[in-house]
């Protein structure tokens, strides 16, 4: 008999819960009065949370600044944060933001998987999806309403391959994390490097969350490469790789993906191991005023970038300001905003100067960085 009671309690919870949240959600006032609602989708739990949370911090910081200085056209900006779990859960997040919160613009899909899962829903509802972190080439020109201010992967990898051949480094080893951005970067690099006659003598990969790279690195060491290209999704795994390289005595010219060495935590922890390491990053000119003030404010408020290289935080921070400019210029009509975004030229922000092309991809100039005694310098 008690089974029946339990059933009705459970059903009651589900029904009341559903009803209550349906009422509280859909009856929200139309967009004109009250705060401007903008959605946010990013990995807040699971393995990917280690770079999702700093992404959230950067967006929160920009929002607080905007609201402090009077908001957008006098209306406060309200960001609604949803967890995309770096995968298909982003579809539920997007559907909720659109149907319940009636957002017109969503900042996010941080992982490429989140953007790919949310895009069909946002495009169907004519909602702008602006991603500051998805790098998958599959997103290029995927929809009128999808733009991003984070470069697609192929660009830096091709430049690194060209740089290696110029420096005469013929036999190179690669170690890649099996995550969306890293795999795309590796593919672009290998194609270019072999086209230029380079010889890939070691090709190791590791799953997200691995902490013991010693045997893979021993294998690379046994091939005694001229250089090693380390492509991890987060500086945390790259720092471990470089430390364990030192542990097993693998001394070689280091190349990095994703501005990994830019993460200042790594520069503090293992400066001598990074000596001479070369990496590629969008020309985030640390000395530029907007960039410098952003970095200082961010580190003041959140102490470290945690797992995040500065470029991710910069693009997330800028995304909020880009949205603010768009709303101020074009109002809330998403079709007009979509065209506006595609005409964005030389927009100045924490990430430097940004231009968005016809496919919604950003044009980035790349700066080649090299690390000398713990300092980041431009390679001539």
């Amino acid at each position: 008999m008690t089974g029946k009671i339990w059933t009705w309690i459970a059903v009651a919870i589900v029904v009341i819960g559903g009803g209550w949240w349906l009422l509280s959600g859909s009856s929200a006032p139309k967009a004109e009065a009250g705060p401007i609602k903008v959605g946010f989708i990013g990995p807040l739990t699971g393995d990917a949370a280690s770079y999702g949370i700093p992404f959230q911090n950067a967006v929160k910081m920009a929002t607080d600044e905007i609201n402090a200085s009077g908001g957008i056209n006098g209306r406060q900006l309200q960001i609604i944060y949803e967890d995309g779990k770096c995968g298909t859960a982003a579809a539920s997040a997007a559907q909720k933001l659109i149907s319940i919160d009636h957002v017109q613009i969503i900042i996010g899909g941080f992982c490429s998987g989140e953007s790919l899962a949310a895009e069909p829903i946002t495009t169907a509802n004519k909602v702008i999806l602006f991603s500051p972190g998805s790098s998958s080439p599959k997103l290029t020109g995927i929809s009128k309403y999808f733009d991003r201010n984070y470069p697609s992967d192929s660009l830096p990898a091709i430049k690194i391959a060209q740089l290696m051949t110029q420096k005469g480094l013929k036999n190179v080893g690669v170690i890649t994390e099996t995550s969306d951005a890293a795999v795309a970067l590796r593919q672009a690099f290998v194609d270019e490097f072999q086209k230029l006659g380079g010889n890939l003598i070691a090709d190791e990969s590791f799953t997200t969350g691995t902490t013991d790279f010693r045997s893979a690195l021993t294998k690379i060491k046994s091939a005694n490469p001229d250089a090693v290209y380390v492509i991890g999704q987060t500086p945390a795994s790259d720092e471990l790789i470089i430390k364990q390289m030192d542990d097993i005595g693998l001394k070689t010219q280091l190349f990095g993906g994703f501005e990994l060495f830019g993460g200042e935590k790594m520069l503090q922890d293992i400066p001598n191991l990074l000596e001479g390491a070369i990496y590629m990053e969008p020309s985030l000119d640390e000395t530029a005023t907007t960039t410098k003030s952003f970095i200082d404010k961010y580190t003041a408020q959140y102490k470290t970038f945690g797992g995040l290289p500065t470029i991710y935080a910069a693009t997330s921070y800028d995304a909020v300001y880009i949205i603010k400019d768009m709303i101020e210029q074009y109002g809330m009509n998403t079709d007009v905003i979509a065209q506006g975004l595609r005409q964005l030229k030389d927009w100045h922000g924490a990430e430097g100067t940004l231009t968005i092309d016809q496919n919604g991809d950003p044009q980035f100039q790349y700066a080649v960085r090299v690390i000398h005694n713990g300092k980041v310098e431009n390679l001539k």
């Binding site: 807040l44 298909t88 559907q95 969306d180």
Partner: protein, 288 residues
Amino acid sequence: MEYLIHIAILVSIYSILGLSLNLVVGEAGLLSVTHAAFYGIGAYATALLLTESGMNFFLAMLIGMVITGAIALLIGAVLSRFDGDFYALGSLGFNVIVFSILLNWQSLTNGPLGIPGIARPSLFGFSFESNTSFLTLSLVLLALVWGICTLITRSSFGRVLHAIREDEQAIQVFGYTTTYYKLVIFVLSAMLAAVAGALFASYITFIDPSSFTVNESIFMLSIIILGGLASHRGAVLGAAFLIILPEALRFAGFPTDVAAQMRQVTYGAILILLMLYRPQGLLGEYRL
């Protein structure tokens, strides 16, 4: 309203998964922790067939079911030699292996990049583009799966499964080669999971390995444990509860930065409280 339909579609997909997993766990008493692997194989098979050859969704789903069934036959043949905790552990191992294949066999599955641009189903010219039409399709398939499961559990085959659950050696003495029964129900349950995989791939139009991990299998287990084992209504209620709960918790006003983790705490606490006070779940009658 769209959001409610979206939730209803997810609930029907997870109900299919719950019903099919219940055949193995609730009816035959075999704690399988590899259901997400078959969900994944079904999804990838259908997605690849749809994107590569552009065939009709339902044909792709059927082929996906056959492929999943074949792989389940191999895995089931190995698993039906284990029992108790070893069965659970062996099945967990197979889930990790299948996940690694989905993640690392990049030439076939695109690895972590996943497969985007999967077409929505269409039948005799009618395309299930809109969510409402997709919901009706999901509910029809759910009803079909429910029917198949009822047919199985009500038949003498189902009764033998219950006997295997209670005392496998005793029923063997009465002339039943229980390894065949365990294998057949394992393959049938995997094929039904492939249906859910096909629906999920076609609905979200993008799949990647991260939705077919061991955690997903554990989530499906908690659906039927919460809903109640060996009860079809329990499987559907469990799916509804555990899909709607995290969505409802989006509104529970946790501080934004810990909201996601608070959901995990609530979910874990529910599991503990269930086991302490109601191990047979809401509607179930079979205690684990």
